[in-house]
Amino acid sequence: MKKPIAGGTNGAVVVALPHPRTGQTRRLTRFLENERLLAGVLLAPTVLLLGTFIAYPFVSGVWLALSDTSVGNVGHFVGLRNFAKAWDDSIFQQAFRNTFFYTFWATIFKLALGMWLALLLNRSFRGKRLVRASMLLPFIIPTVLSTFAWRWMFDPTFSVLNWLLFKTGFIVTKIPFLSDGVYGMWCAIAVNTWRGMPFFAITLLAGLQTINPDLHEAASLDGANGWQRFWHVTWPLLKPVTLVVVVFSIIQTFSDFQLIYVLTGGGPANATHLLATYAYQIGVATGLLGEGAAISLFMLPVLFIVVWVQLRYLRRLEGA
């Protein structure tokens, strides 16, 4: 709104009077110009979400692990008793060893096969897009569903794999896929590899596509063969991406629950229990919430060390 200044003559000078909301806008602008305050405002929703869904459950978990809480009973502080009890528990020791074994081999297989698949998919061939898309299927299907399908395939009585191998003359007696501890663990590793390999392949493929083809061409001109080109050109450039994928995979595999729960339930005789499934059996099925929380917290320092070492190595790589 524009008005002549009071006492002015014939509207020679016209100025704008302050808008009623202009003062508020200025205050808001001043507020937003303060970087610290603005940062606080922008971060608040994230902090709230992280606090509610990450920090609170985590702190509750730590408290449970330090208490003798059982289902329906309020716990009392017992210090590290639950951790000591778990450490002394032979099933826990087995689950602890199993978790490392399972994570190590599943990660190795996922990396090796994922890399191989990524190198194949990096070439040009007919139907490349279709193959790339279908490769993601194991990763897209809900784990529970796909694991149920595997469980049926490994069924002790009606296994289609046993039937196929028997009919083709490869076996004369059934392979105890899930009824033998050693076979059961390798079956779980195989299913985990099947499910997780596409994640490795697609991420490594993205990494491969950022490598300048000129480098390979130059190496070829220098007489490098396929393996030498991979080892001296591709691998060093792919290492940072690979490390990130491996870190993610270790975290996911080490804390895996769904696959083992559905495929073997931790059996036979605890031979395939992982820390997550054993923590669930103790905490949720048996109702010893404090002890279950302590078992699951054993994962934390291990994962922390793994992540810290790998990220440190990654930083060194980036600095080099």
Binding site: V71, K85, P268, G287
Partner: protein, 429 residues
């Protein structure tokens, strides 16, 4: 145009206002009942389609039934108790009510009424739910477990009657396995068939978890003998794939002709009978005609079974305590229970001896009559100590079952027993 007064009259709101209280149905009177997926699906159908709609009418409240896999019940109970929210009434197996006792409403009045009305509980039904003088849950039924077997296959290897001793069963099992017809018995982490097989193996060799004073006595000669028997029996007579079986696998294996015998509730026989058009033996005859039942044969110390008690727990957090008790009294009363009991055809028997005299037993097939009094020959988890929460913890961790499972996978009998005894001492103290 309808007047305000007419509207209130027609919709019944005037009555509600006059009474100064909401009608029964509008008070949030909705009961949530959580149970397992029954192995006799017709039992769930009867509950859902007949009994619960009648309860809804009789009690003026909506009764909602939810059924889930029995192996998922314990996690659901834990989640419900910790959140203070969930089903008002939850079905329990074994002695689970002891594990969750602080979250259970006291149902002593109902339990005493039921015992009085129906002639006193079987020992395991009472032990499963009674803590001192207080009843933690209301006994519902017992699932009797007997060994279902293929009569003609046993005759083919020279066994014309059900073996009387475990050693005889071992010998006949060897012959059957050689013919590709092994005995099938789970030793996996599954709620019913595994403990119902492994616990009696202890008792029938004279072994026990604890003595009457509560001291762990598992590490004993009798236990080692029992484990050694299982090792030999497993290798010579059993389908070794059963280490990964849940409670449904033996049903499927038996009905498809893969195994010759298995310890089970009567669900195999009942499924074969109800599906006799489809479930045939190798000669094309209905398989049900060739199925019979026998108890776990005698060991050196007798023939005990573990016949699983079921109960209904009224959760303390429920806002519908009065209604839930009314419903339980209605459901567990003779008139209602008898209708469910008849559909179960012996798969589930009552928690009291009264049901042994029910006229249904005169109608069932001969092969089913063994279930009539089976529940009386049962011991309880934790034996010879009380079936308390610690016994429930031992069960939930599958320590007794795993002792046998470890041994049949190659651990020496002595080491398996020592391992289990050490685990028991950590729990029982």
């Amino acid at each position: 145009m309808m007047e305000r007064r007419t509207f209130l009259k027609i919709t019944g709101v005037a009555g509600i206002l006059a009474a100064h209280r909401a009608p029964a149905f509008a008070q949030g009177t909705k009961l949530h009942l959580l149970r397992w997926n029954d192995f006799i699906p017709a039992c769930d159908v009867t509950l859902r389609q007949q009994l619960l709609p009648e309860a809804t009418k009789a009690l003026g409240a909506e009764i909602q039934l939810e059924t889930i896999n029995a192996n998922d019940l314990q996690p659901r109970i834990t989640a419900a108790v910790q959140s203070g929210n969930g089903a008002d009434i939850i079905m329990a197996l074994h002695n689970w009510p002891h594990l969750y006792k602080s979250a259970m409403a006291d149902v002593t009045d109902l339990a005493e009424w039921q015992a009085k009305e129906q002639g006193g509980y079987y020992a395991q039904s009472e032990q499963a739910v009674k803590d001192g003088k207080r009843y933690l849950a209301l006994p519902w039924s017992i699932s009797g477990l007997q060994m279902a077997y293929r009569r003609s296959w046993f005759v083919e290897v020279g066994q014309t009657t059900w073996p009387k001793t475990l050693e005889q069963l071992h010998q006949v099992g060897m012959k059957l396995k050689k013919k590709g017809r092994p005995i099938g018995q789970t030793l996996a982490h599954t709620f019913g068939d595994a403990p119902a097989w492994s616990y009696p193996m202890l008792w029938n060799f004279g072994a026990a978890e604890r003595d009457r004073a509560g001291k762990v006595v598992l590490d004993a000669k009798q236990t080692v003998e029992s484990v050694k028997f299982m090792q030999a029996f497993w290798k010579d007579a059993c389908d070794e794939g059963a280490l990964a079986w849940d409670d449904t696998n033996n049903n499927r294996a038996f009905l498809s002709g893969e195994i010759s015998a298995t310890l089970n509730g009567a669900s195999i026989y009942i499924a074969a009978k109800r599906g006799q058009d489809k479930i045939k033996d190798e000669k094309g005859e209905p398989m049900v005609r060739d199925i019979d039942h026998g108890p776990i044969p005698n060991g050196p110390a007798g023939s005990w079974g573990y016949h699983i008690p079921f109960s209904h727990m009224l959760m303390k957090y429920s806002n519908n305590q009065k209604l839930a008790k009314d419903f339980l009294k209605w459901l567990h009363g003779k008139e209602t229970f008898t209708r469910w009991f008849e559909v179960a055809e012996g798969f589930s028997v009552g928690s009291t001896k009264y049901w042994e005299q029910h006229p249904m037993w005169n109608k069932v097939d001969d092969a089913m009559k063994i279930y009539r009094q089976a529940a009386g020959a049962s011991r309880m988890v934790g034996y010879a100590g009380p079936a308390d929460a610690k016994a429930g913890e031992v069960y939930s961790k599958y320590i007794i079952t795993d002792m046998y499972a470890k041994a049949v996978q190659g651990m020496s009998a002595e080491d398996a027993v020592k391992w289990a005894a050490a685990e028991l001492k950590k729990i029982y103290g």
